[in-house]
Structure formats: structure tokens, C-alpha cells
Symmetry: C5
């Protein structure tokens, strides 16, 4: 049946904001992984999260990278270290947020959706990514253990350039990695839809319809996850927050461009699927016509013939034709004439 | 038939604003319940509404919680106590308002809809909630006796934090409770729609169609009730009214987020139901095709056979085949050949 | 056929603005009624229009209430008394304006549509109301003699409050009466649509379709008449014109609210009618399926049987079955078997 | 086939702006007519265009009225006389512009479409009108020789008032004449659509469908021509150009109103035609049902009867019923019973 | 199958911006052509790109015209010569950008799509054009070797006027050439659609449907490529960048106009194709009706006749009609009466 439309909430309506509990559905037994990477122009080191304490190191950036948010304790300790607002903590744990960003003065809170295409279930999986961008730190919290940021870690280790920039550039690099990953999702989805389109044109089967419906549903939910990204990025670029430098804004503009591209493609997929449904219905209707024509051909030709045969099967005593020696052959010829005449008539009328 | 589209108005067109009469349909015989809760950082007490008088108590907040608005006298006395504008009193009683807020200088008047899913009638019930937010008081008027605010009352009694904040925070807490409650409504509705979707794919019946129509209607009316919420909250957050503090605005932003989430889900439900209607129509059309094929198979095969039998049932005297000893068997064989030939032909043409 | 889409214009294209002639279709023989009501806090009196002259009476308001605009002379004398712009006079007479307001400095010109539901013709009737609001006068010109303002006149006579307010409040009261009247129209229309919906679900007939079309057309034209009201009122409220006081703006906000409510309801009706059309088509399609199934059942069962009977009606000399003493009964049994078998097969396949 | 969607361009892509050639399709052999009317409060005279030279005459306005733009020389000489920008000359000749206006400092360039209803071809004809408004001159260039401005010329000759106003008022008068002319187009189109609607409801034929399609196409292209007018006029009114006086702006507001009215009507026609298509499809579907019912009635009643007759036409030797003296009558009665029973059964089931 | 919806990306998600590789699908073996044209009022010369170095020549403009972007080295050397931002280089190579422009202070980066109609594949081909506009240079990079700019080169060689203007005018001339070229694309597409429309009305075949779907898909993708142009140009015109002079803005306004015209036409094509799909479906449905009527005519007339013949083919001993001398003729007459009666009845009912 594809994704759920509405995910259940566990929190009671009316409860105080700040009552923390994980609201997602990925609370596996696995331990939450939390790494801290501290880097500056010269050095880069990895620390254990447990031992991490925020200290002032000039010109260095700390990246706390958390994979899994189902352990409330980890989120709470993050809240204490970076003095986060209770609503931020709540939103981190309630992993059904739409993409958004909020300015809390000392830091920005950014929510993105990480999207993956599950090729088995033919369905889009959507996980939450929370980013907290401070003057000298970035906290990233993924709902699931994903390899999306591996490339960024490698660049931190090998390229010096990324280490010359501030925390805002790191946040950009993470957002860019997430949005770039959408393209691979779209490639898979686009391929699947184009395969479906070919099937539709060459040999539609009843299952084609259910598949079109399935993809329309997926694209519907995908669109819901991607749509807010456009405004998120355009407001983030225009905003005056001192946490993001002018140089980084130019890079964010590039992410914005990619997001619009993604959105365009999603809209195109949607329109295409609508067109495919129309096409399916029309070709169904065409086939119906073909079948009806066949039926009509047989019925309109054989009904008169059967009637004629029935007439000469009547048992009246006085039926002169029956005693004619060539009567039988005349009747057969007559029937042939009627049948052939009707056939030619229909041909001429282009009904058949 | 679901909800009424238009509720009757009792007031005469052209009557003066301020002529008060209850315009809803819940004028049960039950007594209107009105409670007053006065709290400050240190204390909290409940007063009888009859005995309530507005007095200046520094740093304390009074919450007048009215359940039922069908007694005009109660509303009128509220109007006197808090010097409310006649239009506010009229809007409280005319419980068919769309969500909105209005600034009357000394207080804000906010209208929300409380939504509940009636699982028996499979239908959304929409009741009006009026909030009046003053510098040191909040008046809440529910059309019906609902338990939505029980949790807020409990927090007032047990948590100190909510008592440290002003009247604006209490108003936020009430609005948050209302909007949070929408999610439970959406869960029920979403479940019902997904059950319908499964029924549609596995075994659609004619009633499925009426049910899709029913839910489209409900979602239509639900959307009408939720749509204005978005603008209500975004303008309330941007507004400069001194009655709402900056801290509370951050919390309202959270409610705004939830409202957009609700709206997104409603839109998704709508699109999904439209898709389901398309799917229903298409699968109906598919079944029609199946039936037509069956009919065509039988008709096109048996009509020629019946015709042949009719020919040999004719009573011509001179029909040599009839006297052949193996004529009958030859005729049967011929029929078998024609029938089988047609069957194979249709098979090959993939018509059957 | 319902309302005309386009009303004929009599004025020649290119003619000078200010060439006055009545462009509506209500030029009955009846005399135009024009009344002048002059009121202040203390007094209220009615004057004959013929004798009316604009004079400065401090703190008093003159309401010129004209019923019928088919007499150009009346409109022209109004133009002279209040020095109205030629375009205003033209718009008063050309009663096919959309709702709008225009600021002419010394006065505002406001056009509204008065809507009524003609229950005989099942159709919405739309008449023009022109309001001219000056500092101490209001002119109202209705195209038809309607009782909509009776209530306002009564309030002027009995309530002192309305007499304490200025001309702007009177204009508000008139606009409020017009918009309030829309609700009664919507009630009638909504009732008719809901009756149609019930008919549609219980027992649709071919006429149902024509009725759905009729109501869609009415709602289309109704929407056209109501839609501009929203912007009219919101710009009127935001405008800085000194002719409307702050107090009256609060009341206008209330009318604005009602207008949005009306518009919402019209949109809901529109969506509902679209949904009903879908439902009609689907249930038609369902019935077709039922009928086709019945046909298929009979055809596929009786065609083989008739064929068998035909076989044994053949006149071959050598047909051993015919001479068997129990041949006839065996044939009947065989037919019963074939018929029953087919029936059970279809049952099992759920085709029937 | 109605109008062409895209008109061919003759100019080569990449050619310099200012390479002048007529791009329309009306290059008839007829001579271009160019008249110059110079008027002031006191006098009015007509000059030959060939002899015309721009000279300063205080308080007088020159109207150069050109009918036909297929002679490049005329347009070039206009360009020299009034020192027009090369792009203006190009746009005058390329008569497929959408309505727009452009401020060139010393003059405004305004493009409108002149629309006519060709009752023979049942199609809308769209021609370009270019207006150039300077401080003391107006140049109007029509693509075709139309009588639309005859009324304006008559007013210039007879009414003094129009001669008291400046060039901007003349430009207004010309635009007003063009937009007013739209109403006559809409009347014809509206009549044609309403006739079609009546035909649709009383007796739809297959051609009705093609006619609906034809009108939808016309309205589509009409909408494209009218849509930009709305913004054209609203920006022209708000603009600060000193070439248009405050007084004239009030008159332009009136044209704006008319344009919105036209647009509303076009939208209504579009919605109506969509509704008519739905209705056509539905009534087609209804008729299909009627026919299917008829077929089903005959088939389901006569198939069993024919089978029974076939049974008693079998040639078994031992068929006791055949020898009963009243067997024949019993068989007829039995058939009557079966047929009547089926008929009553269908009646009861409301299938027929 | 027409164009791909999504083009594959080769770059890894998360890779650093500035890692350059060509992402298009035109990496043919052909050498990239790069020409440099340096011109001033007096002179114009062509240089080899390899030898090109940016030097200050007062009042002269350098146009670097690159055809093919599949050689990263060329793009990199451009980046060095004009000190371009890494993101610009990346966007030049990633040739799947949507139209946009970006201000990098010292230069503007503009992306357009060059569109061509491939008449063989009946499909729109979209290639990227990057423009970099500096104070005294323009760089144009086409993905493919196209003749679109030939006309501009000729004007540079022959017309002096274009050499009097700055680099901004050259950029305008290039953009104008690209947008003008769209019209030829639209002419071809419009012709193809109109041919399809004629085929649809005169003699629709099942392939017509697939062709309508094909064109809808093309128009969908075309729209995606053209849509952003509108905003691109309107923001470019309004922008304050000193790189574009006021004079050139007037020319850009003209390109803007053309872009809107293109967009309008694309929308019209889209609406028209939707209308054609409706028409196809409706005419299919009409034909179905025709066929059904034919079937019903034959079935309802011949079934009763065959039944009558069957009755007189029964073998009852006592059937008095059979022995009447004129029984046979009476039966034939009776059948003729029944058949004719039914035919007239259907005629009267207008079913046939």
C-alpha cells in the first residue's frame, strides 16, 4: 500500500511543549551513534561525544554528527550543551516535520527530509534531518544511519578548502549532500515511470492501472516533502542572520537552484502520470470498441442468416420453395449474398 | 448525508449588530458551565463565575472557561465584565464563523474550530471555540462540553512553568491543544481512507463509490474549516500587538507549523481521494471489458455454429448431405472445426 | 435556461461617457420611488425627493433611497444635487457592473449586487445596488423595488444608536443588509443542492444530470457576482479615505468576514456539484455494468443451449441419438447440465 | 479549423531590431489610408498625411489615424516625424503582439487587439491596434480598415467637450471604443454558445461535440488576447507618467472596469463550455444506457423463448409432448408465461 | 519515447563544488570550437582562443564564443582568464540547468535553453547556453555547434550600429537570437498539432491517441524549459546592476515581451491538446454508440423473427396453422409486419 499518509503521534494533545519522547517509527534496538569532529585550518580531530564539552577554540568548528534520534538522553544532553530551546528538542524527536528553518538568535534550526527510493517496495522513504547551526558548531541529527555524509567527512579529512570556511559552509555542504541525493532518487523514480510508460504504450494490462495509481501516490507524498524546500532556501538566502556569511549565501543559492530543479521534475512526473492515466483509460476504451465491433460484425451478419435458415426449417405443408430441386442451393446462395452484402455495407461505412 | 453545507441563520438580514441570539444547533437543555481559574506564580484557585469580578491582582492571570454558548445571559455578562465590542458578542453566539482573529486594541478576539471525528456517522464534527485574550485574562468559549482542555488544566495545577508565563502563553496552550487534537482526527480519517483504498484495490463494490464521495465531501468541509488557520497564525505571529510577547510568538510559530502540517495532510487526503475515484472508474471500466469479452467469445463462436445447425434443419426436399450416412458426423466435425478455429483466431489476436 | 451570460448593451461603442441611458432589463412601466430620510441624534424626518435640496444641517445625515433606475431624469437630478462625475451616473444606469468601489475625493461610489433566489425558476437573480457615500449623505439606488432595507429604516425610526453614528455607518448598515441577505439565498440554494444530492444517491434519473448542470451554471454566475466583493471590502477597510471613520471600519471588517464566508460557501457548492457530477457518471457506469452482466448471463447460457437444440433439429437421416427411446430426456438433461455448469462457473468467477 | 495558433514570422532570428517588414497576413493590395486631424478648443481641421509636419501649435492636438500597416514606408515616415524608437516601429509592423504598454519617456506606446466576431466562420478575428501617445499628438495604427473610430471622429466634429481635453483623453476615447466593441463580440459569442447549450439539452447530435470544441478553441484564443489587458490598464493607471493627467486616469479606471468585465465573461464562457462538454459526454452515456437496456430486454426475453422453440423442433422419435393434442397450445402458453415472467421480473428490479 | 524526464548526473552527491566534469550527453569526439571576436567602433578582429589574453583596450568589447562544453580544459582556462566562481564553472558543465541569472558582482552569469524541433523524432531538443557578461566582455558557451549566432556575427561584421554599443547590447543580441529561434520551434510544433487536430476531426485512428500523448509530453517538457525565462528577464530588467545600461534595458524589455508571447503560445498548445484529448475520447464514445445502435437494431428486429420461425419449426403433431394452404405466406407476412413495426417504433423513438 505504499507509505502511510498520516503517522501516529504518541504525545497527548495539550501536553506541555518540552515533554520529550521519540515520535518516529525507527526505534530499533541499535545504539545511537554520535561523533564529534573538531577542525580548524590546521588540524582536524574526532572526539567521543560522551567526553565532548563546548569550549572556545578560536577559528575552529565542531561538528556533532548524530545518527539515530530514538534515545532521548542523547538529545537532552545536546540541549544542555548548546542551550537549545525546548521546542527544538521536541521537533528533533518528532520526526514528521516538514522542511523548515527557524531563527533562535544564537543558532538556526533547520529541518530537511532525507529521501531514498526503496526499489523492493517501489516506494519513497522519507527520514528527518535536523541541523543546528551556531557560530562555531553544527549539529546534525539523522533519523537513520545513512552514508550520505561520508563524502563530506572525506572532504574534511583530505581537502583543506572546506576547513578554511566557517560552520555555515559545513551546514551548506550537508544540505547540498542531502539535496544532491534527491537526484538519484528521481533518477530511479523517473526510470520506473518511463518503464511503466513503455509498458502502457506497448501492452497495457489491468495491473498497469494499479501501478500508475501507486506512483501517483508516491509522487504526491514526495511532492509534499520537497515543496517546502523552495521557500526554506529562498528565505534563508534573503535572511539577514549573521550566522551565514555572504560567501556561503552564494553557495546556498546553488542548493536553491537544485531544489527548484527537483521540484520541477516532481511536477513533471506528476503531470506525466496524470497523462498516463488518461492514456490508459483511452486505450481501454479503444479496446472495448474493437471488441464491440467484432461482436457487432458477427451478430449483424449471422442473425439474418440464422433467421433465413429458421424460415426454411418451418414445417408448413405448403412451402413451394422446399420442393424445388435447386431450392437448397438457391437458399445457400441467398444467404451468402445477404452475408456478403452486409459485410460490404459495413466495410463501406467504415464501421468495421 | 454528512454535514450540512449551510447552517440556517436565525437573525434577520439588516438587524442591528448587537442583537444577541444563539445561532448554533446545540441548544440542549443542559446548563452552561462556566469556571474561572485565577493563577499566579505562587497560587492557583478556582472561582464560581457568578461571583467573578475583574479586579487588578498584580502578576496573576484569570482564565474564564465557558462550556456551551447557548445561554445568551452568560455571554452578555462576559461582555459587561470585559467591556467587549457588540460584534464580538455576536460572533461568539453565531457559531458558524471561520477561523479568524481581530484586534480590538484592549484585547484580541480569536476564533478557532474544534474538530472531532464521529466514528459512527463517519463524519467530521466542527464546533466553534472563541478566545478572548486580554493583558491579564483569557476567556475561552466552547460550543460544546469537550475534554480538550483537561490536559491544560492539569498542567496549571501541577507544572509551575505555565504559571510563570502570562495570559498570552495560556492562550497559546489552548490553541495548541485544539490544533494538536486535529492530528487525532486526521489519524482516524486517514485510517478510514486507507481502509477504503485497500477495499478499492482488492474488491470494489458499488458502495465503494458512495463512500469515496462521502469522504470527499467530508474532506471538502474539513479543508474549509482548516484553511484559514494558516493565515490566522502567520498574521498573529507577525503582528505587533503588545498583548503577545516575543517568547510566546516562538511557541505560536510551532502551532503555525502544526497547522501547515494539518493542511498538507488534508490536501494529500483530497488528492488521494480524487486518485481513488479515478481508480474506481478505471477498474469499473476494466471489469466491463472482461464481461464484454466473455459475451463476445460466446456470441461469436456460437452464432456461426447455430447458423450451421439451422441450415441442416431446413426442410428442402433435395439436400444431398442429409442422406449421406456419415453426414451427421461430418456436420458435427465441421462445427467443431469452425468453433475451434474461431477460438484460436481470437486467442492469436489476443482479444480473449 | 437560467440567467443570460451576457446582457445586451444598448450604448454604441465609442459614444461619449456621460451619454445617459438605462442599460438594464427592468424598465417596467412603474414609477421610480425616491425617498429622502434626514436624521440626526434628535430627529428624523422623511422628505419628498422632488422637494429635496442639499443644505448644510450640522450633525445630520441625509439618505436618498431610490428604488428603480430606469428613469434617467431622476439619476440626472441626483447628479446635479451631489455634483457626481458623469462616469458615476453612467455606471448607475448601466446595471451590469461588477462589485467595485471608487474614490472620487468628495464621495465614494460603491457598487454591490443584490442577489435573490427565484424558487420557481430555480435561479439566482442579480440586481445592482449603487451607493454614494458623502460626508453627510448616502444615496442608495436599487435596480428593483426590494424590501431589503426595510429593517434599516425601522432601526432608524426606533433605535437611537444608528442615529448617533455618521453617514459611513449608514452605508455600512446598507451593505451589511445586502450581504446578510446572501445567506438566505445560500440557504435556499444549499437546500436545493442537498435535495439533489439525496436524489442522486437514492434514485438518479436522466433529469438529475440536467439539474446538476443547471445548478453548476447558477453557481458559476453567482460566484462571478460575489467574488469581487472580497477585494472590494478589504481595500475599503485598508483605505485611508476620511469619509469612513475608524469605528465604522471595525464594522466593515465584520461585513468582510461575512463576504468571505459567502464566498467559501459558494466554492464549497461548486466543488460539491463537481463531485456530484462525478458520482452521477460513476453510478451511470455502474448501472451499465449491471445491465451488461444480465445480458451476458442470458446470452452465454442460452446460446450454447439453443445450439444443442439446433443440432438435434437437423434433418440428417442417420442420427442414431434420435432413435434412442430415452434420447430426448438425455438431451434435456445434457442441456440442463451445460446451463447449470456455465452458471456455476460464472458464479465462481464472481462475474455474476 | 478556426484561427491559427501560431502565425509565421518572416524576420530571421538574430536579425537586428529595426529591420522593418510587415509580419501580418493582411497585406492586401489596398492603399494604406492615413488621415491627420488637428483640433483645439476652437477649431478642428483634417490634413493630408503626406503634407503633415509636426509643428508647435499651442493647445492643439494632432491625431494621425492610419488604417493598414502593410506599407513600411508610411510607418518609417511616422518614425521620422515623431522620432520613434526602432523597436516601436518593429512592433507596429509585427502585428502579432500581445496587449502591452511601454514608456519611452517622450511618448507612450500602447498595443491593443481589435476583436471582431466573424459570424460566417463562427470565429473571432483579432487585429492589432498600435497607439502612440505624445504630449500633443496621438498616432493610431490599425491593421485593418475598421469603422470602430467613426464614433470618436463624429464626437470630435460635434461635441466640444472632447476638444477641451488633451491628447491623453483622445487616447482614452480610442481605447474605450476598442474595449466597448468587445461587448458586441461577446454578445454574439454568448448567443452562439447559448444556442449551442439549448441544442445540447434538447437534441444533441455528434456535430454538437465538434461545435463545443470549436468554441472552446475560440474562447481559448480570445482569452489569450484579452488577459493582458487587465494588467496593461491597471499599471497604466497607477503609473506616474506626466503624459496622462489625473482626470484622464479616472476615465481609464472605467476602461479597466470594462476590461475586467470582459475577462470575467470570457472566463464564464470557458467554464460554461467545459460544463457543456461534461454534459454532452454524460448524456451520450445516458443514451448508451437506454440503448443497452432495450437490447438487454429483447435478448433476455427472446433467447429463452427461442430455446424452447428449438427444443420442440428437435427430431427425437420419442418426444411424448409432440403427440399431445393440446401440446402446441401448451407450449405457446408456456413461452408466454416465461416471457411475461421475465418482463415482470425486470420491471420489478427497475432494470427496464 | 521522446525526451528523458531526468538526465543522469555523474557527480557524486556530497562532492565539493568545483570538482569539474561535463554532465551532459553530447560528449562527441569533435573538438570544441572557441573563437574570440574583439570589436570597437572602428575595428573588429578575430583571434584564436588559445592565444587570447584579457587586456584593457578602451572602448572595445571581446566576445568569446565557445561551441561545445565537453572539454573541461577549455572551461577551466576561461575560469582563469575571467576569474569565474567555481559554481559558475560547474553550472556551465552541468548542462541541465533551468534558465536563470546570477549576479557575481564583476559579471553576470545567465543560463538559457536553446530549443530545436527535431522533425524526424517529432521531439523538442533542449541544449544549454551559458552567457557571462562582464563590463567589456561576453562569453557564450553553447552545448552544441548551432548556427543560431551566425546572424549576430554577420551584423558585427557589416553593421556599425551594434559595434557602437557595449557588451550588454551584445549579450542582448545573443539572447534575442535564442528567443527568436523559439518561434520557429513553435511554428513547427504548432503545425504538427494542427495537422493532428485535423486528423482528429476528419478520421481519428487509435494512433491519434498515442500522438496526442506524445505532444502533451513534449509540451510539458517545453513548458518546463521556457517557464523560468519570464522571471529571469523581468528581474534582469528591474535589477540595478551597472553592467546593463538603461538603453539596453529597453531592448531586453522587447525580449521579455517575446518570451511571454512564447509562453502564452505554449500554454495555448497545452490547453488545445487537453481539449483534443477530450474530443478524441468523446468521438470514440460517439462511435461506440453508433456501433451499439447498429447491433441493437439487428438484434431487436431479428430475435423476435427468429423466434417466430422457431415456433413454426416445432414438431407438434397438432399445429393447425401448418396445414393451412396460405399458412406459410401468412407467417412470412406476419414476420414482415413484426420487423417493420419494430423498425418504425425505433425510428419514432429516435433510437435509430
Amino acid at each position: 500500500m505504499g507509505q502511510r499518509i498520516i503517522r501516529k503521534k504518541k504525545k497527548k494533545a495539550g501536553a506541555a511543549p518540552g515533554t520529550l519522547s521519540y515520535e518516529g517509527d525507527l526505534a530499533s534496538g541499535e545504539k545511537v551513534q554520535a561523533r564529534v569532529i573538531v577542525y580548524s585550518k590546521e588540524t582536524m580531530r574526532e572526539e567521543a561525544f560522551a567526553a565532548f564539552a563546548r569550549k572556545k577554540e578560536p577559528a575552529s568548528v565542531a561538528w556533532v554528527c548524530v545518527e539515530g534520534v530514538h534515545e532521548v538522553a542523547v538529545v537532552e544532553s545536546l540541549g544542555k550543551i548548546f542551550s537549545l530551546h525546548p521546542l527544538v528538542l521536541e521537533d528533533i524527536l518528532n520526526t514528521n516535520q516538514r522542511p523548515k528553518w527557524e531563527d533562535y538568535g544564537e543558532y538556526l534550526y533547520i529541518v530537511l527530509r532525507m529521501l531514498d527510493y526503496n526499489a523492493q517496495a517501489l516506494q519513497v522513504e522519507s527520514r528527518q534531518l535536523s541541523l543546528i547551526l551556531g557560530p562555531d558548531f553544527v549539529v546534525s541529527l539523522q533519523e537513520e544511519n545513512k552514508e550520505v555524509f561520508a563524502e563530506v567527512r572525506k572532504r574534511l579529512a583530505t581537502h583543506r578548502r572546506i576547513r578554511f570556511m566557517g560552520a555555515d559552509y559545513l551546514a551548506y555542504a550537508l544540505m547540498d549532500a542531502v539535496v544532491d541525493h534527491y537526484f538519484s532518487l528521481l533518477e530511479h523514480l523517473g526510470d520506473a515511470v518511463e518503464r511503466l510508460e513503455e509498458e502502457l504504450i506497448s501492452q497495457p494490462v489491468p495491473e498497469t492501472l494499479a501501478r500508475i495509481h501507486h506512483f501517483r501516490r508516491e509522487v504526491l507524498l514526495l511532492r509534499k516533502a520537497v515543496w517546502p524546500l523552495r521557500e526554506l532556501l529562498s528565505t534563508l538566502i534573503r535572511d539577514e542572520s549573521p550566522l551565514i556569511s555572504q560567501d556561503t549565501r552564494i553557495y546556498l543559492r546553488d542548493v536553491h537552484d537544485h531544489a527548484i530543479h527537483v521540484l520541477d521534475t516532481v511536477e513533471t512526473l506528476r503531470d506525466l502520470l496524470t497523462g498516463m492515466l488518461d492514456l490508459y483509460l483511452s486505450s481501454t476504451s479503444n479496446r472495448m470498441n474493437e471488441i464491440m465491433k467484432m461482436l457487432t460484425l458477427f451478430a449483424t451478419i449471422f442473425m439474418p442468416l440464422t433467421f433465413i435458415a429458421g424460415v426454411y426449417g418451418m414445417n408448413f405443408e405448403n412451402m413451394p420453395e422446399l420442393t424445388w430441386p435447386w431450392g437448397y442451393y438457391a437458399a445457400l446462395l441467398f444467404m451468402l449474398g445477404v452475408g456478403g452484402g452486409l459485410y460490404l455495407y459495413f466495410r463501406k461505412k467504415k464501421w468495421l
